[in-house]
């Protein structure tokens, strides 16, 4: 879509009239504004989900039930998961997509600007529905974020609120993904072939396809749960001829690609940052594209590794074990490529690079525990224990969340026009890295020793590691409060002015425009050599 504007003067006049005040935000169609909305929303959700986690860790500080009734504790674990997955991580990556994809491909905005507005504004009502479910009789759903049947049938009205919230968030994701695919495939600047596109755009292109494929499957699973609960169906009720395990198949057919949806954009961010701070091109660009695509395709055929103890036939167990172990190969390829990018570069370690390298180190640890969990006999011992909790927090927190922080530090100056305070950024990194490991590393031992997950209380022998984890968790939470007040807010209000390209090794169209990015950019598409 290339337009030549013969009258730049007219275009300038027309755009003097963009709205201000609350209308600017409610009626936003500008990708930068919508990106900002998504990012603030996701950060608020991160803190909300974080408070729930602190409730969990406070109760688990010592054995015995000191603070909460077990039914409320189960609400905390469930809602912590739902809020973090659907409210924090996914919208944050969409926020980055909105801000950066048009800038990186040289487009003036997303393909469907009004649908973009709708995609965002669906989220606050969904969040209110979800978080508000704590206040209804019976409280929020307490069936685990995976909402297995038939336990989900026993839940009160909070469950139905959660189902509707997820439907709304799913619709938002699907619309957002359609927008992203259309934008990337149709609006790249002349000369930017797909194989010249930044890796962040590639990972989002692939992620968007995954979202379109699997969000409807989740919608199916939760709708069947809704009708089982209220309209007399028996999809998951054996007494009526149904099968509870079918819920698990449908859920995890969504659920496994979902976790790749949460990590592929992270890979994209890290693939932008490491070359910038190593002052060296990304090693093996084509390979990285193929590896990401392989991971996405493989993600569709491994879902039942979440179900190894449900009693599937031996052939199925073997198939899913082999397929799951196979994903380690393209993931390993990516790790090697990042390290090869660093190798013999000329590195500096400002905060974005600290988080990117931290990601590489700690995410890979999560990858190894995933490989161990892929081995079915070992998984039988670890299923539903704290080893699994450790594994997915390593890949989601040290993986996804750290990459989001890295992206904030990297692109933040472009958004705000101000450099963040570098020493405070470094402090945020080290505090987060250390407290994260203090929280989650001991959980490997708890899982190996047999401590089950979703337990409000535990055998006294598990006390010491639980205490350490709880202390780490509070430290991690405090580090994020520090991040908000000592890094983010000051960087928005003022500070050292950011150059167009604050990072001398950075490449990409986003660095050819001023910082902060003007309201309208690339109204005339640039030509890419």
């Amino acid at each position: 879509m290339s337009t030549t504007i013969d009258h730049p003067h007219d275009a300038h006049d027309a755009h003097d009239h963009h709205p201000h005040g609350w209308q600017r935000w409610l009626f936003a169609t500008n990708h930068k504004d919508i990106g900002t909305l998504y990012l603030w929303f996701s950060f608020a959700m991160l803190l909300t989900g974080g408070v729930l986690a602190l409730g969990i860790r406070a109760e688990l500080f010592q054995p015995g039930l000191q603070l909460f009734k077990p039914e409320f504790f189960n609400q905390l674990t469930t809602m912590h998961g739902l809020i973090m997955v659907f409210g924090a991580i996914m919208p944050a990556f969409v926020g980055f997509a909105n801000w950066m994809i048009p800038l990186q491909i040289g487009a003036a905005d997303m393909a469907f600007a009004r649908m973009n507005n709708f995609s965002f504004w669906l989220l606050p009502p969904a969040a209110i529905l979800l978080v508000g479910s704590f206040l209804v009789p019976g409280g929020a759903t307490a069936a685990g974020w995976t909402l297995y049947a038939p336990l989900s049938t026993q839940m009160g009205i909070g469950m139905d609120m959660g189902i509707f919230a997820m439907h709304i968030m799913g619709a938002s994701s699907i619309m957002g993904s359609i927008n992203i695919v259309t934008t990337i495939l149709n609006m790249r600047a002349p000369g930017m072939t797909l194989m010249k596109m930044p890796m962040f755009c590639w990972t989002w292109l692939i992620t968007a396809y995954l979202l379109i494929a699997v969000m409807p499957v989740l919608a199916g699973a939760i709708t069947m749960t809704l009708t089982d609960r209220h309209f007399g169906t028996s999809f998951f009720n054996a007494a009526g001829g149904g099968d509870p395990v079918m819920y698990q198949h449908i859920f995890w057919f969504f659920g496994h690609p979902e976790v790749y949806i949460m990590i592929l954009p992270a890979f994209g961010i890290v693939s932008q940052i490491i070359p910038a701070f190593a002052r060296k091109p990304l090693f093996g660009y084509a390979s990285m594209v193929y590896a990401t695509s392989s991971i996405a395709i493989l993600s569709f055929i491994v879902w039942a590794h979440h179900m190894f103890s449900t009693g599937m036939p031996v052939t199925s167990q073997l198939f899913f074990m082999y397929a799951t172990m196979l994903i380690a190969v393209p993931t390993g390829v990516k790790v090697f490529n990042w390290i090869a990018t660093m190798w013999r570069g000329s590195m500096t370690f400002e905060t974005p690079m600290l988080f990117a390298v931290g990601f590489l180190f700690v995410f890979t640890m999560g990858g190894f525990t995933g490989l161990i969990l892929a081995i079915t006999p070992v998984d039988i011992q670890m299923q539903d224990t704290y080893y699994v909790v450790a594994h997915f927090h390593y890949v989601l927190v040290a993986g996804s969340l750290f990459s989001l922080f890295a992206g904030f530090y990297y692109w933040g100056p472009k958004w705000t026009g101000f450099m963040y305070n570098e020493s405070r950024g470094k402090f945020h990194f080290w505090a987060s890295l250390i407290t994260f490991n203090v929280t989650f590393f001991p959980m490997h031992f708890l899982g190996l020793a047999g401590m089950p997950r979703r337990y409000a209380d535990y055998a006294a022998q598990f006390t010491d590691f639980n205490m350490i984890a709880s202390i780490g968790a509070f430290g991690f939470g405090l580090s994020q409060v520090y991040f908000l007040f000592a890094v983010v807010l000051p960087a928005i209000r003022g500070g050292e002015k950011a150059a167009d390209k604050p990072w001398d090794g950075a490449e990409g169209l986003e660095w050819t425009i001023p910082s902060p990015a003007p309201f309208h950019t690339f109204e005339v598409p640039p030509t890419v050599k």
Partner: protein
């Protein structure tokens, strides 16, 4: 920055104090987790042993790869720095290298999968069991039915035996806190035991780490697993699938006895049940009913209605001063047999157990019900 450092020091100091002054002088649990345990529980079956070794193999391979890969990365971080004057190279692709680091990990993955395959197949082979026991998960305890082999016909419930004051009121915790039951599963050593799992309500999971078993218990379906314990002893496990509010409070204890001891246990059990302890026609004294009722209450009712009988306002009604408990017997019998809303139907309890617990509630706390005794025969009549 200075304040941040001080804050971190304070956190470190407090945590140090809290960890060292923990009030639990708890010992390792026999057949269960050890204090600060780092690895799997010691295996007592060949399968658990295979799993233990598989995991060790995986750990060794992963640690070696980890050290190699991150050795390279940290070397690079130290040496390839702009501050040391290192100039960036410009290479950015190599097909040979990409193929190498795709093929080699692929081969490593295949090598890991081979021993694992053998164990998967072995774990699935439940044929030719010596004894078959059905484990039924219910909210929130286990039911065991010996359905084939020595001990056939024995059936009982197994519920958490940890006193509630240890859970709710901070009473000093025993070494077996939260993984002790009133009636453990009893099996003989060196015999292949097939465990058939199912459930009455929601999905539970029957798992005992030392035996290397875990199997989901799915309502309306049967699954199975097996184990062959090679050492006499007591082994402990948990429910491993979220099943509602008492998910953490329905543990599993397996007593593995020598063949001779097992035969004796079977004989005792059979004698006990046929001697009419559950004979619905037998009339018990008030004292007997109250004593038995107290035990039934502690195993089944206390989770919701509490030790104090005061329930949880807004959620679970108080029994102390309750109209149902102090009113006509028939209403309370019907309530227990049929349930109501969140209260489950307790049909699965025996007539004597139901009669006893009703009697107990009618004579306990401040209750002095007019009709204060219920016999098993009345409950049996009400079932029709």
């Amino acid at each position: 920055m200075k304040h941040a450092k001080r804050l971190l020091m304070m956190i470190a100091a407090i945590s140090g104090q809290l960890v060292t002054t923990s009030s639990f002088a708890v010992n390792d649990m026999e057949g269960g987790p050890a204090v600060r345990q780092l690895n799997f529980q010691p295996p007592v079956t060949a399968i658990a042993s295979d799993i233990y070794q598989l995991h060790t193999l995986m750990m060794v391979i992963c640690v070696v790869i980890f050290l190699a890969v991150f050795g390279v990365m940290f070397y690079s971080i130290l040496k390839h720095r702009k501050s040391l004057g290192h100039k960036a190279a410009s290479f950015h692709e190599s097909t040979t290298v990409e193929i190498a680091w795709t093929v080699v990990p692929f081969i490593i993955v295949i090598l890991m999968a081979l021993p694992a395959t053998k164990t998967v197949v072995a774990m699935k082979d439940t044929s030719n069991a010596d004894i078959t026991i059905k484990a039924t998960g219910m909210q929130w305890k286990w039911g065991y039915d010996y359905i084939k082999g020595e001990g056939e016909g024995i059936a009982y419930y197994s519920a958490l035996a940890t006193p509630r004051d240890q859970i709710h009121e901070g009473a000093t915790k025993g070494d077996n806190y939260l993984i002790e039951v009133d009636n453990p599963l009893v099996v003989p050593v060196n015999k292949k035991i097939r465990i058939v799992t199912t459930a009455n309500d929601v999905i539970h999971a029957w798992g005992v780490p030392a035996l290397g078993v875990k199997q989901d218990a799915i309502p309306g379906f049967v699954r199975d697993t097996w184990f062959k314990a090679e050492k006499v002893g007591t082994y402990r496990g948990n429910c491993y699938e979220l099943c509602g509010k008492e998910h953490a409070f329905m543990p599993i204890v397996v007593n593995v006895l020598s063949e001779a001891d097992y035969a004796k246990w079977v004989a005792d059990k059979k004698k006990g049940s046929s001697a009419g302890a559950e004979d619905a026609n037998k009339a018990l004294t008030l004292a007997e009913l109250n004593a038995k009722g107290a035990a039934v209450y502690a195993s089944n009712c206390v989770a919701c209605h509490q030790d104090s009988g005061k329930g949880v306002p807004g959620a679970f009604p108080a029994l102390d001063g309750s109209k149902v408990v102090n009113g006509p017997k028939g209403d309370q019998i019907a309530m227990l047999l049929n349930g109501k809303n969140a209260m489950p139907a307790w049909k699965t309890l025996s007539d004597t157990e139901i009669a006893a617990v009703i009697t107990y509630t009618r004579n306990h706390w401040s209750n002095k019900a007019g009709q204060n005794m219920v016999q098993a025969a009345e409950v049996l009549a009400a079932r029709k």
